[in-house]
Every structure is written in C-alpha cells, then in structure tokens.
C-alpha cells in the first residue's frame, strides 16, 4: 500500500511538472505573430502521417533511417508496456495484462524484448557515430557543450531504460521458473532468457533485482518525460503538430506582406483607403515576437540533426551560416525571453535581440534562399523564413543591407533592372544577333 501511494505521488508529480513545462512552451510559442495554418486539414493530416508518423523524409539517409526506425518503433510500442507498469504500480498488481490477453501477452512481451534490443543497438550505434566516428553533421560552431551533452544524455538514458527493462524481465522469468509467489508464469522472453544465467539464484536477491529494475525503469521514464521540455528530444512530441502545420505552398513562394501592400497601394493610387491590417509592429523580425508562432514551433521541434546544415551551400563552402544554428538560436532566445517573463513580467526588456545578440548579419546575408535546408528537414522545419524575416527587418526598418544590395535596389527602382542598364535598351537583344 505504501508503495502504491509512493508510486501515485511520483506519477502525479511527474505529470504535473511536465504539464507545467509544456504550458510554458506553449506560452513561448504564442509569443509569435499569428499565422493561419488551419486550411486544408485532410492534406495536412496526410502530410503528418507520411512525414512524422511514416518517417518518409528520413529515408534519404538509409543508415540513420534504419537505426532511427528501431528507436522510433521501439519507443512507440514499448509505451504499451508502460501502460501496464502504471496500472500495476497504482493497484499493486503484477503483469495485469497477462490474464486477459492470454497468448497475445506472450507475443507482446516477446516483441517488446526484440524491440528493446533493436533500440539498444540503434542507440549504441548512434552514440558511436557521435562520439567515436565523429560524423561531420554532428559538429559545427553551434554544437557546443550543451547540445553535445544533451544528445549523449538522451542516448545514455535510453540504454539504461532498455537495460533495466531487459534485466527486470530476466529476473521475473527466473522467479517464474522458481515458482515464487506473485510471479505468475506470463510472458515470453526471447532476449532476457539469455541474461538469466548471469543472475543470482537467491529468491530474495532476484526479487530485489526485479523490483529495483521495475522502479528504475518507471522512474526513469517519468524523469525522461520531464527532461524532454529542456531537450532537443522534445521533437518526439512536436514532430507531429509541426508537420501538420507545414507550409503547403510551393517552397519558392515567399509571403506577401499585407502591411506593405497597403502602403504600396496607397502610393500607386492616392484615392486608395488602406484596409486595417492586424499584424502591426515592425516590418520583418528583430526578435522572437516578430516571428510567426510556426517559426517558434519549428525551433522547439528541431532535434539538431544537422541535415539542413549539411546540405546548405553557404555552410558547405565555409560560410558562417548554418540553418541549424538559426533554429537553435531562435529556441535559445525564446527560452531566454520565457525566463524573463517568469522573473520580471511580460514587458521586460533585456537589451538583447535575436538579430545581432544571437544571429549575425553575416549569417543572414550568406543565404542563397535555395531551400535545400527546408527540403532536407525530416520534420518540415523552415529556417529560410526566419532568415528572410531578419533580412526584411534589416532592409525595411534599418536600411542596413550590404552596399551592393542597396545598389541593386537603386537599379531596380530607377531602371527596372537589378543592373545599371537603361530601360529603353531593354529590347536591344533582338538586334544583337
């Protein structure tokens, strides 16, 4: 009974803390500007099922795809086992699903074991790719101590959880064989049966191992759940809404700013009365509040895999720009603003901005807008739209573009071409044959 109450307290605390942190993330995402992504729901659902649930964009890199698939399927399916653990924990039962499921239970437990082993393999190879093989994609200026530790913490925790799960099963299986009270004969253990010879023979020791692994596994899961909001690993949740709210327009189409349309129409036609535009504020983005909520959700969804950066022509050729850094900076700045709100209230200014305090001018001007990053992202994150918003701010609010870009603007404005050619010469090509 004491253990059941203890379990209830731990579970309730874990869930309460998690929802508190999730609410903060939702609040931070809502710091962004409004953007309507409620259209074409069936198309959106199809994209979510294909890209997030079906992992379609992962397949471009087959090795990572297969390993990630192990971990992903393992994660999704082993969660069925967690359901049983929670019920057992709350009601003091043991393997509550065994009786009602009968033969199916054996199949399930066996498949969990196989999946847990595949997860272990996947995670260990992932760890080696990061820490031994040093795959280039996982390095870069933005991959400092915290991002690298974050990745390793996730992998180590997964190894521990899966090991605890398998050890627990092994001890349980041995206790079943010994006929110990409560340890009903249930489950099939294709993997953990190999661990049985490694375990002690004493019943007390086995129960101690089984129970501590059980507690370690479930407390580990609760702890991991609460680690998610602080980690890049939050992608396991946000991948789904983020792909649902994907940009459905052609990648080449940049938004037409309604606030600008009003002014331009008024300039071209003096009799024009501007329509009220809700967005207000400044042109483009200087800080988090100027980006859309989808830009911000993108930032929380990013799991820093670096596929974007590895295909970025600017980054490949040694420029400072890294689309992954754009996303990580956006998240870091958003977290900082969230903490400011918690500490000092909503209107606190800390003198910092996303542009310049985090992302430099050199980075935003190195982008070729080629969309390689948006195409490469397995969860449809769009670093390009953030870059463009920052450029818009630099150009329209500050007139701070590189000199040659300003010259190009001048040419377009005066000659109708980005070069200094006279508009009257536009048809000369016919004669030049």
């Amino acid at each position: 009974m004491v253990l059941q109450i203890l379990f209830l307290i731990i579970a309730a605390a874990a869930i309460a803390l998690f929802s508190l942190n999730v609410r903060k993330i939702i609040r931070n995402i809502n710091l962004g500007r409004p953007l309507d992504r409620s259209d074409r729901p069936s198309e959106r659902l199809a994209i979510m099922l294909k890209v997030a649930f079906g992992q379609s964009k992962m397949a471009k890199r087959p090795v990572a795809f297969v390993l990630h698939l192990f971990v992903y399927i393992g994660f999704v399916i082993i969660n069925l086992e967690v359901l049983e653990i929670i019920i057992d924990g709350l009601f003091g039962t043991h393997r509550i699903f065994a009786e009602p499921l009968g033969g199916l239970y054996n199949v399930l437990i066996a498949s969990f074991e196989v999946l847990a082993t595949l997860v272990l393999i996947g995670v260990i190879v992932f760890f080696a790719r990061r820490n031994i093989v040093h795959i280039k994609r996982f390095s870069g200026t933005e991959m400092g101590t915290w991002p690298r530790s974050d990745a390793n913490i996730i992998l180590i925790v997964e190894v521990l959880l899966m090991s605890a799960f398998l050890t627990m099963n092994a001890a349980d299986y041995k206790l079943q064989q010994l006929g110990t009270l409560h340890y009903i004969s249930a489950g099939s253990f294709p993997v953990s049966s190999f661990l049985v010879p490694l375990l002690p023979d004493s019943e007390t020791a086995l129960i101690a191992i089984e129970r501590s692994c059980w507690w370690f596994h479930i407390i580990g899961i609760f702890a991991f759940l609460n680690y998610l909001p602080y980690s890049k690993h939050f992608h396991i949740i946000l991948a789904f809404p983020n792909t649902y709210f994907s940009n459905l327009k052609p990648k080449g189409e940049f938004t037409n700013m309604a606030s600008v349309s009003n002014e331009v129409k008024a300039m071209l036609d003096p009799t024009y009365t501007p329509e009220p535009v809700p967005e207000g504020g400044r042109f483009g983005a200087k800080d988090i509040g100027d980006l859309s909520w989808k830009n911000l959700m993108d930032a929380y969804t990013c799991t820093e895999c670096g596929r974007c950066t590895s295909v970025c022509p600017a980054n490949i050729t040694g420029k400072l720009l890294s689309p992954r850094k754009i996303m990580m900076d956006t998240r870091d700045r958003m977290e900082e603003m969230g903490k400011n709100i918690d500490k000092h209230g909503k209107d606190h200014q800390d003198g910092k901005f996303l542009l310049d305090s985090y992302i430099s001018r050199e980075e935003i001007w190195a982008c070729t807008t080629c969309n390689a990053c948006t195409d490469a992202c397995p969860v449809n994150i769009d670093p390009l739209s953030i870059i463009v918003e920052l450029r818009r701010f630099a150009v329209m609010e500050e007139s701070q573009a590189p000199a040659s870009i300003n010259a190009m603007f001048g040419n377009v404005e005066n000659n109708g071409a980005p070069w200094k050619y006279a508009a009257v010469d536009r048809l000369n090509w016919v004669e030049n044959d």
Partner: protein, 263 residues
C-alpha cells in the same frame, strides 16, 4: 530559319491582335550578353513551332524577385503592382519566362497581389512541344554520344518541383545523360540565388559555384546544361576558373534545343 521577328505587345495591340503567349524575357535575358543569346533561342523555338508570341519590350520591368529575396518587400510590391497593371492592361493570360526566378515570382507571388496568369518556364514549354510532337531534335547539330549533365536551378526544382521538364529536352538528343550526385531535390545551388548574384559572397573557404562546377567536372561532361541565366553565369565562371571553356560548354536547354533543330 526565317529572320527572327519579335513583336512587342504594343505593336500587336495597335493592330488589334493578341498573342497566344507572352514571353517574359527577364532582366538577365534582356541585358546580359550571354543570356541574350538564350533569349533569342527561345524566340527562335517559338517562331519555329509557329506559336504567336510577343514580348513587352521596354514596358517590361524587373519582377521584383531580387528585391524580395533580399528583404525589400516595398520595392518588390511596387514592381509587382506596376507590372500587374501593364500585364492586365494587355489582358495577358499566359506567360512563358526565360528565367526560373521570374517564373517563380510571377507564378507564385503575383496572384496574391491580384496578378493571375498561367505561367510556365521555357523548359516546360519545350517539354510540352516535345510531348505534342511539335518539336523534335532534327535538322541540326547532333548531340549523339555527348556527355551532358543537368544542373537543377533551385527556383525551378525545389522551389516549384519542376525536375523532369528540362530533362525531357535532353532525353530526345540521344546523348549520354549523366546525373551529378546532388541532383533534383538534392541539387546544390549555383550560389546566385537569394540576391547573391548582386553581391560578393561572405568569407568562406570556397565559392559556391566552384563547389558546384567541381562536382559537374568530375563527371567529365562535354556539356553542363541548365535553364537559368544566373546559373549560367555562375557555372560559366566556374568552368573559366579551370580554363576549361574549350572542352566543357555550359548551355541552356533552349540553346541545346535550338541547335538540335538547326534554328
């Protein structure tokens, strides 16, 4: 081939006529010497198949694409709205462009500002003409056995998912088509997009066009094909960088088509 005649919209309108299609030449196609050649070849193809076309001539102006990519939405919309006035003034319905950037802007960004046209890129026009058997590869230069690799312009490929149209123009040549590893949706930018064409690159260890041409040259091609005037500049500069202008030609799909048909 008859003498090239390029009517302007103003001339047609004065005669009370209208074209089947407006050829939107673009700034590079109008002023850049290398691109002017491509422009004339697109006209030759149109004339060859007997499509009644016209250009805006001096009434054409920048679509605003480079201004928009560089963040100058004001300038973009000024350009767009005055271009829409001109296009609507002539009651234009269908446009073919010689540039993927003009294509993308006219096709995707003008509708939101009230400019609704059917917009195609010249590679799509060529594909369509081939599909309709109006255009073949005969009567001109033979490309048989020539090794050709196609560089996907970002604003045609990833931006608008047009990958097959330009390849169609190459497939009928009986040439040896080879793909770079980074092709189609994995294609590497030439380095000119996003208004990079009009500025010096930021400091780095290599220029993007060199990175790209290295990949193309590794295939030992006779021809690097593309279908964008900016890619043309970047790739040609890349080839020049290695003094390989004699061995490796950088050609637009339209030029190849015109040559294959002796236009």
């Amino acid at each position: 081939m008859d003498k090239l005649t390029v009517p302007t919209m103003a001339e047609l309108a004065a005669k009370g006529e209208s074209p089947e299609i407006l050829f939107w030449v673009g700034c590079a196609g109008s002023f850049d010497e290398r691109a002017q050649k491509i422009t004339r070849d697109i006209c030759k193809i149109l004339q060859h198949v007997g499509i009644k076309f016209a250009v805006l001539g001096t009434e054409e102006s920048c679509t605003g694409d480079p201004a928009k990519r560089a963040g100058n939405e004001f300038l973009f919309q000024m350009q767009a709205m005055s271009n829409i006035q001109v296009l609507d003034g002539y009651n234009i319905k269908k446009i073919v462009t010689g540039c993927p950037h003009c294509f993308n802007t006219l096709r995707n960004e003008y509708p939101g500002l009230g400019g609704n046209y059917e917009v195609i890129h010249h590679s799509q026009l060529i594909q369509q003409l081939i599909d309709e058997s109006k255009l073949k590869a005969e009567g001109g230069e033979s490309f048989k056995g020539k090794k050709i690799t196609f560089h996907d312009p970002c604003y045609l490929g990833r931006a608008n998912n047009v990958y097959e149209a330009p390849r169609k123009a190459l497939e009928i040549l009986d040439a040896d088509l080879v793909e770079m590893k980074r092709c189609k949706s994995n294609g590497l930018c030439c380095g000119a997009g996003g208004a990079q064409m009009f500025k010096e690159p930021e400091k780095g260890k290599k220029d993007i066009n060199i990175e790209r041409i290295d990949e193309a040259l590794a295939l030992n091609p006779n021809i690097v094909a593309s279908s964008c005037p900016f890619c043309m500049t970047m790739l040609s500069d890349g080839v020049k960088n290695y003094n390989k202008e004699q061995e490796v030609k950088v050609l637009d799909i339209a030029e190849i088509t015109a040559r294959a048909n002796g236009l």
